[in-house]
């Protein structure tokens, strides 16, 4: 009756996708423990999600440290970009998984009883709040980073305008020395690239980044900012130079104007497209929701198929059992008919024996008489 069905189970386990709950065992637990099984799966998924959230937060803290350093080195820049992409993708993945998990939890809740359902709901809420915190922190860090970059570009612009205005200051000589490496050798004199940058700055930056023709600079505001920036630079790089000198320390980030230009373009485009982005975003969301629904349907169908497959085994067993019963009963019917026949014919035998005895007696009497 109970054969070794390990190989069937292994085959089934391999054919199942990794994330789906395991099918009911061959001994057939009731529907309740199915729900408990799924609850266990839910717990494991939730644990996975919380681990990932922790990982994302760690990456986020690294990113925020890098951002807070201020003007960063190129490898830091690259690392920051990498981190940003990574964190973004993780956050999106986590979002999807959280939604999925909360849907599963809603479904399972009614089956597993009051307390387990509440516990699951609380866990979901906790996860969601941590996730929301992480997402908002990410946003803050990104904001800080864009602010930093803006400061940098303002600063550079100021530097080169200042450079433009004062000709007899010894510092511009240093600047002309330093300018080529900063621009990455793309231009022989730095000004054309600078012009591009300034013209691309969004109209919202009207502090110091209004596009200015060459040779004209509001030296007053320039000097203000000049006096401010070196202090900042002094703080972050500890170089003690005169008024503009610290600007040209080698800690000047080689953020080429090409980069700045690209960033400004992106920002500008984003601001232009933001009105449309809502609509497009909505469409994208709707499509992705439809897609996830369809995928869910697919998994449900798969589960259904698996369940029905199991049932096939059970039905076969039922069939075998009933077949055995049938055979047994047939055989016992034979035996009983034999018994019956033998019961009937026993009297015949006795009768025969008796008649033989009577014949013997008659023969004996005849023999003696």
């Amino acid at each position: 009756m109970s054969s070794n069905r390990t190989h069937e189970f292994m085959a089934l386990a391999q054919s199942l996708p990794a994330g789906s709950p395991p099918p009911t065992s061959a001994n057939g637990k009731k529907g309740d423990s199915d729900a408990y099984q799924e609850l266990r799966n839910f717990h494991t998924t939730a644990a996975g999600i919380s681990r990932d959230i922790a990982g994302t937060s760690a990456l986020l803290s690294e990113l925020s440290n890098l951002v807070r350093q201020g003007f960063a080195q190129p490898q830091d820049q690259a690392r920051m970009n990498q981190l940003v992409m990574h964190i973004k993708s993780q956050i999106e993945g986590l979002n999807g998984r959280l939604d999925q998990a909360s849907n599963t939890m809603q479904k399972q809740r009614r089956k597993v009883g009051q307390q387990a359902g509440e516990e699951a709901a609380n866990m979901m809420d906790g996860l969601k709040s941590t996730f929301a915190e992480a997402a908002s922190d990410f946003k803050k860090v990104l904001q800080e980073r864009t602010d930093n970059m803006k400061e940098e570009t303002d600063f550079q612009k100021q530097v080169y305008d200042y450079n433009n205005a004062d000709d007899d200051d010894p510092i511009p000589n240093m600047s002309s020395l330093y300018a080529p490496p900063v621009f990455g050798g793309a231009n022989s004199n730095g000004f054309p690239a600078l012009d591009l940058t300034s013209s691309l700055m969004s109209p919202g930056d009207n502090t110091s980044s209004l596009p200015r023709p060459h040779g004209i600079s509001s030296s007053y505001s320039g000097s203000d900012i000049r006096q401010r920036r070196p202090l900042e630079y002094n703080n972050s790089y500890g170089s003690q130079n005169s008024l503009g000198g610290s600007l040209y320390s080698t800690a000047q980030p080689p953020l080429t104007p090409l980069d700045i230009q690209r960033m400004e373009e992106e920002r500008g485009l984003q601001q232009q497209l933001i009105p449309d982005q809502d609509y497009l975003q909505q469409r994208a969301d709707a499509m992705s929701q439809v897609e996830s629904n369809i995928v869910e349907l697919g998994t449900i169908f798969n589960k259904l198929a698996v369940m029905v497959q199991e049932h096939r085994e059970m039905v076969q067993r039922v069939d075998d059992n009933v077949q055995d019963a049938n055979t047994n009963i047939n055989m016992s019917m034979e035996v009983l008919t034999d018994t019956l026949m033998s019961l009937r014919t026993n009297r015949m035998l006795a009768f025969r024996v008796f008649s033989v005895l009577v014949l013997f007696i008659i023969a004996f009497i005849i023999f003696f008489a």
Binding site: M1, T24, G28, K30, G31, D34, K107, P275, D276, D278, Y279, Q282, R283, A286, M287, Q289, V290, N293, I294, E296, L297, I300, F301, K303, L304, M307, V308, E310, H311, M314, V315, R317, V318, N321, V322, D324, A325, N326, N328, I329, M331, S332, V335, L336, D338, T339, S342, L343, N346
Partner: protein, 200 residues
């Protein structure tokens, strides 16, 4: 979830105010005497927002509980849909897109020179307004979503019944096990009765 008004508007740099070409409204939810003022406000909102919308841009602006979705095509033809807060913006923009395409197709280029407001008659505008009152029917994505939800529900019920079936099959297995055991015992006792003792 309802649409209150719909307007096709022509914008352009030669006009200081956008010119509404066709207007359709569904004001049955307002009292009879309010309708006129509501309609005027709709037109005013339409013109204001169309003036501020760049070509190739979509915007949704909320005003006193109603949302105005505006869309201007790159050639200067634009439309606005005024809906209540619940109506999904995406459906409104899809409707605008379709409406404007049909309008441009039917009217050809004639709308580009119109300057009198509400002078173009375009009956499909009313049809669109009525059809899109229920976004679930008119917008394909919403319909698909609804169908999918239904299907998912049905499948959940199916899975429940399959689980029940499993339980019942399990019962059957047990019972048939018992049956076969009992029949075996029966056979054995029958054989015993037959073979050893002789019934006298």
């Amino acid at each position: 979830m309802k649409i209150v008004g719909l307007a096709i508007v022509r914008t352009g740099s030669d006009l200081n105010e956008p010119v509404p070409l066709t207007v359709a409204t569904e004001l049955s939810s307002f009292g009879f005497f309010q309708r006129q003022s509501v309609k005027e406000m709709l037109m005013f909102l339409t013109k204001t927002f169309m003036k501020r919308t760049e070509p190739g841009q979509r915007q949704s602006v909320e005003h006193e509980g109603y949302v105005v979705h505006c869309y201007v095509r790159s050639d200067g033809l634009g439309g606005t849909v005024t809906t209540d807060g619940e109506y999904p913006a995406r459906v409104a923009f899809v409707m605008l897109g379709q409406l404007l395409d049909e309008f441009a197709q039917k009217q050809g280029d004639s709308w580009k020179t119109v300057t009198t407001p509400e002078s173009v008659s375009f009956p499909p505008a009313d049809e669109y307004l009525q059809k899109y009152q229920n976004p679930a029917e008119a917008d394909k994505i919403t319909k698909i979503q609804k169908d999918l939800d239904e299907t998912t529900q049905i499948l959940h019920k199916t899975i429940d019944s399959v689980l029940e079936r499993g339980v019942k099959l399990d019962n059957l297995v047990e019972k048939s096990n018992d049956l076969s055991a009992q029949s075996k015992l029966f056979y054995k006792s029958a054989k015993k009765t037959n073979s050893c003792c002789v019934v006298s």
